[in-house]
């Protein structure tokens, strides 16, 4: 399996700031996989994406793209790379179609963007001025724009932010299809649902550093608490208790609780990615 990107000891400081925003991170983005960059607000996710997509140049460390130093790529880089910004950027006084036509005209090859527009449910609104679009519509158009050149490497900064569950699912399904076509996808997000459904592997970032690199499954194994939680009413009111999942069938306390009480709810205490997220970022805060 070859790598699209190999990043070594990447550091970056915004000219106006005193401290490094990115403090020496290393990771790889595998070809044909969905890479998730996670972390709390201000961690440096968008900054990292901007560096990899050649928008920010004065970094230190090494970045190679398909084996060649990123700095040796020029404008031709963007013929095969698609970039979706965090904030949707469009010409507001142009229609959706005019916006797409304008940007599509800048590339050598084009994807069938009418089809994409239809998929994301904007075909009906294609002749409407983008300035009159709702937030979610702008986000969807922004997504289509990132794909205009049928890129083999796609950067998406929070692609489902501000979308309702139905539209978010459409976008996620499309991302999974792109992966099937062999494209490499770099997703930045702090939505755990996206991560579970999309990412082959994730890198956790916090305060400019990487705190975890793993697959979603391995993360859950590592941080997962195997336990069972029950809630029941007794004369004192609602009570809840937690028992280890290990040998639960012979756990007397647990079995007694089941026998004696009117059980309201039972939950397996499988750790959610939300918990892991908070744990991973919390650990760093306490250092």
């Amino acid at each position: 399996m070859s790598n699209a990107f190999v990043v070594k000891e990447l550091r970056f400081k915004y000219p106006k700031n005193n401290d490094d925003t990115i403090q020496g991170i290393s990771f790889q983005v595998e070809e044909g996989k969905i890479f998730g960059l996670l972390g709390p607000s201000g961690a440096g996710k968008s900054t990292t994406q901007k560096i990899l997509s050649k928008l920010l140049e004065d970094y230190s460390g090494e970045i190679s793209y398909y084996g060649k130093d990123l700095k040796n790529y020029h404008k031709e880089f963007y013929e095969e790379v698609g970039v979706g910004f965090e904030m949707p950027v469009h010409f507001n006084k142009l229609t959706a179609l005019e916006n797409l036509k304008y940007f599509a005209g800048l590339y050598k090859t084009n994807i069938d963007y009418i089809e994409l527009l239809t998929r994301v449910g904007l075909y009906e609104a294609r002749n409407q001025l983008v300035g009159e679009f709702s937030k979610g519509m702008k986000v969807r158009l922004n997504f289509v724009r990132a794909l205009l050149n049928d890129p083999k490497m796609i950067f998406l900064d929070e692609p489902t932010a501000g979308l309702d569950p139905k539209n978010a699912k459409i976008i996620k399904d499309m991302i999974l299809e792109f992966k099937k076509q062999g494209k490499t996808i770099f997703v930045t997000t702090h939505l755990m649902g996206d991560v579970e459904q999309l990412c082959d592997y994730v890198v956790f970032m916090h305060k400019g550093r990487i705190t975890e690199t793993s697959t979603v499954r391995d993360l859950k194994m590592k941080y997962g608490k195997k336990e069972l939680k029950i809630e029941y009413y007794n004369p004192d009111g609602l009570k809840s208790e937690t028992y280890p999942l290990d040998k639960i069938g012979t756990n007397e306390a647990f079995l007694n609780a089941l026998k004696k009480n009117e059980i309201e709810t039972i939950h397996s205490g499988e750790t959610t990615l939300e918990d892991i997220f908070i744990k991973v970022t919390g650990d760093v805060d306490n250092e």
Binding site: K75, M87, V89, H90, K93, L94, Y102, L106, Y107, R145
Partner: protein, 238 residues
């Protein structure tokens, strides 16, 4: 070349949608009324200044409003992640200013022709308009690219107009002795006006030659040395 044309079309479509062209034509329409109401001598005396106003001074305002609208939308930044070279984007913007300038040239010069007969040398005026727009947009871009918003640009712009008009005024009220009159040509706007005057009456040849060279030199230096670099910087900073 195809991409260039595509970019220019995009710029002009935006000028139409943002009603900037409408505004440009409206101003020219006012000039038409003035020309129609003037007698022949006044129209000829006014004509060159009116064309200069549109091609030189208005073009900066129109370019500025278009630029800051685009800045607000962040679309210039979005072009950075496409294969298009930024110098092409800059050229497309200059071309869109040319488009508006020539549109108003057609309107103003056309109305002089219609109301007062054919008294303008056509080929020279086209060439001079080209030079005047190039010079004024070069200076205009420097003001635009060094301003945070449209208002900040307007303030600098007023300063520029004052500076460019001052020598002309001083000569007019005879504060400057005649032998120093040539200094007024250092104002690009005045040099442009002299060129436009030369299309309707006789102007000393040396003045024409000086003005043409001067108005070719300014954009020739400013665009590659200053404007382009700042343009790239502003595009990246978004």
């Amino acid at each position: 070349m195809n991409k260039m044309l595509h970019l220019i079309k995009g710029e002009i479509l935006r000028l139409v949608r943002y009603k900037i062209i409408f505004f440009a034509v409206l101003v020219s329409a006012i000039w038409v009324i003035i020309i129609a109401l003037s007698d022949e001598a006044t129209a000829l005396a006014l004509g060159p200044s009116l064309i200069l106003m549109d091609a030189g001074l208005m073009s900066v305002i129109l370019l500025g409003s278009s630029f800051f609208l685009e800045q607000q939308e962040g679309t210039l930044h979005a072009l950075l992640v496409t294969p298009v070279q930024l110098y092409k984007v800059l050229i497309a913007k200059i071309c869109s200013a040319m488009f508006m300038g020539f549109l108003s040239l057609i309107i103003v010069a056309g109305s002089i022709l219609i109301f007062h007969g054919p008294m303008i040398s056509i080929l020279p005026i086209i060439f001079y308009t080209f030079l005047v727009i190039l010079t004024h947009t070069a200076i205009g871009f420097l003001l635009i690219l060094h301003s945070r918003d449209f208002m900040a640009m307007l303030v600098k712009y007023m300063g520029m107009v004052l500076l460019f008009m001052l020598p002309v005024l001083l000569v007019a009220v005879n504060v400057v002795p005649d032998e120093y009159e040539f200094l007024t040509l250092l104002s690009p706007s005045y040099a442009g006006q002299v060129l436009f005057q030369s299309t309707v009456k006789t102007v000393e040849t040396w003045k024409v030659i000086f003005s043409v060279s001067y108005l070719a030199l300014i954009p020739g230096l400013l665009y590659p040395l200053l404007v382009y670099k700042q343009f790239v910087k502003v595009a990246i900073e978004g």
